[in-house]
Amino acid sequence: MIKIESSPEEIYDIELEHSLLEANAKLAEGNRALLDRNGITAIDFMGAIGSGKTTLITRLVEKIKDRIGVAVFNGDATTSSDADSIAAYGVPVVQIATINGCHLDANVVAKACAKIDLSKLKLIFIENIGNLICPAEFPLGSKARVVVVSVTEGPYMVRKHPHMFLGAQLVVINKIELAETMGVSVEDLTNDVHKLKPDLRVIPTSCKTGAGIDDVVLAILAV
C-alpha cells in the first residue's frame, strides 16, 4: 500500500456539491417532458415480488384499453412471462430485462419509450422490479408512483419500508380476500401508511373478486 505523507499546507479540499442521483433525475425529467409533449401520463408500479403488480396492471388494462391508448413497460430481472401475459390483451408491451439490476432507472425507460409509437397512447404503465427499497431512489419520469402491497406480505410491510411510501402518490392494498385467512388487518396497514404520509390515498383491492379495481382506474385517470 502506498502512503502519502504531506505537510498540512499541501493538502487541499475541493468543494463539489456533486449529486450522485442527479444524472438519473435529469433523465427522468427528460422522459417526463417527452411524455408531456405527447400527451401521455406514465404511472410507475412498485412493490414486492408476488404483491400482484402484474395482475393489477392486467386488470387495469382490461378496463381501460378500449377507452384510451395504453402501453405497458414491464421490468423483470430475467423472464418475459409477465410481459407475455399482458401482451395477450393486444396492447403494446416492452419488456425491460434488468438481468441483475434491482430497479429500473430513467435511462432504460427512455430506451423503452423509443421502442414504441407514442402517438396513439394516453397512458403508460411501468412495472418496476419486485423490490421495496432500491426503486425509491430512482425516479423514472412518471406522473405518479403507486405502491402495491398485499396482505400476504404480513402486518408490518408498510413500516418496514417507509421510504417507498414517502415518495408514492397512491397505495394499493391487494389480495384483501385473503386478509381474514392471513390474520392481517387492512385497516392497520392503512393506518401505518397514514402515519408516514397523512394525505396518501389508499385503495384496498382484490384482483380475484374485482373489488376496488374501478376505484384504482378512476384514481389513475384523474392523475
Binding site: 463539489l16 427499497i133 432500491c134 431512489e137 417507509p162
Partner: protein, 124 residues
C-alpha cells in the same frame, strides 16, 4: 443493492477529478447522505472499497455524513425537523411526513441528498 450503482457513479466522478490535470492523489471523499434516502452507509463503504480496487483512488477513504431531514407544512407553515415514528419496530425512529404541529401532510425540504461534498487531495 442500489449502493453498488451509487458507489460506481461516485468512483467514476472521483476518478474523473483525480485524473484531470494537475496529477492528484485523493486522500478522502466526504459524502452527504440525507435521512430521507434509503442509502445504507455501511454497504456503501463496502461497495466503495470494492469498486476502487486497482484504481488510482484505491487508498482513499470514504467519509459519510448524515444530513438531517427537514419538512415544511403547507397547512400551518411549520418548518423544521419532521415528526418521528417512535414505535415502528424499526432500529431507529422513522422520519415521517406527518406535520408535528397540525398532523397534515408536509413536504420534505432537506434529507434527499446523496452528494459529494468535498474531495481532499494532494498534488503530485
Amino acid at each position: 443493492m442500489h449502493e453498488l450503482s451509487i458507489a460506481s457513479t461516485l468512483v467514476e466522478s472521483v476518478l474523473k477529478f483525480a485524473n484531470s490535470p494537475p496529477p492528484k492523489k485523493v486522500l478522502k471523499v466526504l459524502l452527504q447522505i440525507g435521512e430521507f434516502t434509503c442509502v445504507e452507509p455501511e454497504q456503501l463503504r463496502f461497495c466503495y472499497s470494492v469498486v476502487t480496487q486497482k484504481t488510482a483512488i484505491e487508498d482513499s477513504t470514504l467519509e459519510i455524513e448524515k444530513v438531517a431531514a427537514e419538512v415544511r407544512c403547507p397547512h400551518c407553515d411549520y418548518a423544521g425537523p419532521p415528526k418521528y415514528w417512535e414505535d415502528a419496530l424499526a432500529a431507529a425512529p422513522v422520519a415521517t411526513l406527518e406535520c408535528p404541529t397540525c398532523g397534515n401532510a408536509t413536504e420534505a425540504t432537506h434529507g434527499h441528498d446523496c452528494t459529494i461534498r468535498t474531495i481532499r487531495y494532494v498534488e503530485q
